[in-house]
């Protein structure tokens, strides 16, 4: 290389063509190595058929007021509780600053939405949340077993208490139980796996 386009090397000598070849070859090997490694890393991510198991339809007319069911969605539990007037009122009366996690954690709404009860449900009478404790993934107990100190759910593994909006109130769980994408197809049918917006964009009837 000539003096104009090459800086002196560390030993005071001009960088040679050979230095350039070393660096170029080393760089190409690093990039090539990364390109080869990526398919072997990415193959462990959820496969197309797994991702395609996107949505399920649930008839919620069978869920009486004051009861709940657990349905399986994407390999895990989803809680659907038909809340009583008292449970709704209890959830709505909570001040935001009383919540360890103040975010709504609702996939239908943008991240960072405040976690008021109104932001956790589409219709106040039906609360629909994913049923794995946000601590370590256990399935919390609910109606008929143990609703904890806040009348929602109680996780037996490490003692997390959730309220009637499935928000964490006490215990080691860091976040509220997340609300999955869902919409009401009819008055009594819920489709879990698509948000109302996605559903109407894809031509679903949204009730």
């Amino acid at each position: 290389m000539t003096e104009e386009n090459g800086a002196p090397g560390a030993d005071g000598q001009e960088p040679s063509r050979r230095d350039f070849i070393y660096i170029a070859a080393g760089g190409a090997a690093a990039v090539g190595g990364g390109l080869v490694a990526w398919p072997f890393i990415d193959q462990m991510n959820p496969a197309a058929d797994t991702l395609a198991l996107g949505s399920i339809r649930v008839d919620v007319s069978v869920v009486a007021v004051g009861s709940e069911i657990t349905v399986m969605w994407r390999g895990g539990p989803v809680f659907i509780r038909h809340r009583t007037e008292e449970e709704i009122a209890e959830a709505q009366s909570v001040e935001l600053n009383a919540l360890p996690d103040e975010e709504a954690r609702n996939d239908n709404l943008p991240a960072g939405t405040p976690g008021t009860d109104a932001n956790r449900v589409l219709r106040p009478e039906f609360l629909i949340v994913k049923g794995n404790c946000t601590h370590l993934g256990c399935v919390p107990l609910g109606l008929g077993a143990n609703t904890g100190d806040y009348d929602g759910w109680y996780c037996p593994c490490h003692g997390s208490h959730y309220d009637t909006s499935a928000r964490i109130r006490r215990g080691p769980a860091p976040e509220n139980l997340p609300v999955p994408d869902y919409f009401f197809e009819t008055e009594t049918t819920v489709k879990i796996g698509l948000s109302p917006e996605e559903a109407s964009n894809s031509g679903w009837a949204v009730s």
Binding site: T70, R74, G75, L136, C157
Partner: protein
């Protein structure tokens, strides 16, 4: 593997082979004529025991893989079928399941031996670090193996441990889904765990090779912690590995296998958990999730962090403490400031070590209990508090006790040589 070779090929075939692939020479120098300190006690036999158990696990595991089905609908049944219908399946499955426990018993005794006799100190730091790598690989292999029978504890153990990864900031959830291969522990998870569970023992075997190589460069440590002298005095301090230690190791292996046989034949399920005889159900969590016994101390450390530390929330703090408890072993050779290897000559540190063993066992006890239960029924004294105290001691032993005592402690007088310790009047 080091020092001049004393192998003399005696037959024509041996000479011919030795000039092409000196493999007999390697075996002879490593396991026949290898100079070994003459004062090794039975705590030094666990290395050989561990090698035997690695082979037991690999051979029984290969056989089990011929009958096991890595599918969420069939895995549980296929293990039951192995124990009932496959010829001698009951024996081989029992050997493999109990073998894991006996493998861990041996590795813990081997590690405590190293801690007590200062086996991690110069010039054996790499040897020690390779041992910690093997231990980590064993933990990963054992964890994934426990998932394969696809019982309730298998499933929920996998759920809890993979959820720990979700505690990592920003990337945690993406990594968790990557590990699962789905939105929950399921078919993809089971299948990949089977693949890795089959792979890792061979990785362990390779690292064991390095471990033995790193052992044979400086040679064995020994109970008095002195190096065998070089040169003509070497013979006074050492004995050839064969027959002296092949026989001693062999005797220990037989005794250990006798205890193993008691479990394999008469108590095959006693180390398991009743809930793992219920097929995995993603909708129902067992009332009380516990890992295999050999993870209990670390499970207790995980649960001991119930408070936020600065910007680190309790969940992430627990995960960091748990991995830190093993990670700290990697830097142990540089934390212990004492030049004296053996605790025999460290009167004060010895007591801290003994309490360290008690603390490790106590953490195991805490890990098995509900953290909100009371210790021995003492009102208010929760297992959580005991676990927190013992976790504190666990870390303090490495971070405070070993660095400080190495400086302030006055060690006892040591014998002049291994020969003097064994044959002299020194009773040390």
């Amino acid at each position: 593997m080091s020092g001049p070779s004393t192998y003399n090929p005696s037959t024509g075939i041996e000479k011919w082979l030795d000039e092409r692939l000196p493999i007999i020479r390697l075996g002879y120098d490593s396991f026949v004529d290898f100079p070994t300190p003459r004062n090794l006690n039975y705590w030094w036999t666990f290395g050989g025991i561990l090698a035997v158990f690695l082979m037991i696990q690999i051979i029984s595991g290969i056989v089990l893989a011929m009958h096991y089905v890595a599918h969420e609908d069939y895995a549980f049944e296929s293990v039951q079928r192995i124990t009932r219908d496959v010829p001698f399946g009951w024996l081989i499955q029992s050997m493999h399941a109990n073998g894991a426990s006996f493998f861990f018993v041996a590795v813990y005794l081997h590690m405590f031996r190293g801690l007590y006799y200062g086996s991690y100190k110069a010039p054996r730091e790499i040897l020690w670090i390779l041992g910690v790598v093997i231990y980590l690989l064993m933990m990963a292999t054992g964890f994934m193996g426990y998932v394969l029978p696809w019982g309730q504890m298998s499933y929920w153990g996998a759920m809890v441990i993979t959820n720990l990864v979700g505690a990592l900031p920003f990337i945690g959830e993406a990594i968790r889904e990557w590990l699962w291969g789905g939105f929950s522990v399921g078919q993809a998870t089971l299948n990949r765990f089977f693949s890795l569970h089959y792979l890792l023992p061979f990785v362990i075997a390779a690292v064991v090779g390095l471990h033995i190589w790193a052992l044979h460069v400086p040679g064995n440590g020994n109970p008095v912690g002195l190096e065998a002298r070089k040169g003509k005095d070497n013979k006074k301090d050492t004995l050839p590995f064969h027959p002296y230690y092949t026989v001693k190791d062999g005797f220990a292996i037989i005794v250990y296998l006798m205890v193993f046989a008691v479990f394999v034949f008469f108590l095959p399920t006693v180390l398991g958990h009743a809930d793992n005889y219920i097929e995995a159900d993603p909708l129902v969590t067992p009332a009380h999730i516990v890992p295999e016994w050999y993870y209990l101390p670390f499970y207790a450390i995980l649960r001991a962090i119930t408070f936020d530390i600065g910007p680190i929330d309790a969940k992430l703090g627990g995960v960091l403490a748990m991995f830190g408890a093993i990670g700290i072993l990697f830097v142990l050779p540089w934390l212990d400031t004492s030049k004296v290897r053996s605790m025999r000559y460290r009167p004060l540190t010895r007591w801290f070590f003994i309490f360290f063993v008690v603390a490790a066992l106590g953490l195991g006890w805490c890990g098995a209990k509900n953290p909100d239960d009371f210790v021995m029924g003492i009102e208010g004294f929760k297992f959580l508090y005991l676990g927190q105290f013992l976790t504190f001691y666990y870390f303090a032993y490495f971070i405070v006790v070993l660095p400080v005592l190495g400086i302030i402690e006055k060690p006892k007088e040591r014998p002049a040589s291994i020969e003097a310790a064994v044959l002299g009047t020194d009773k040390a």
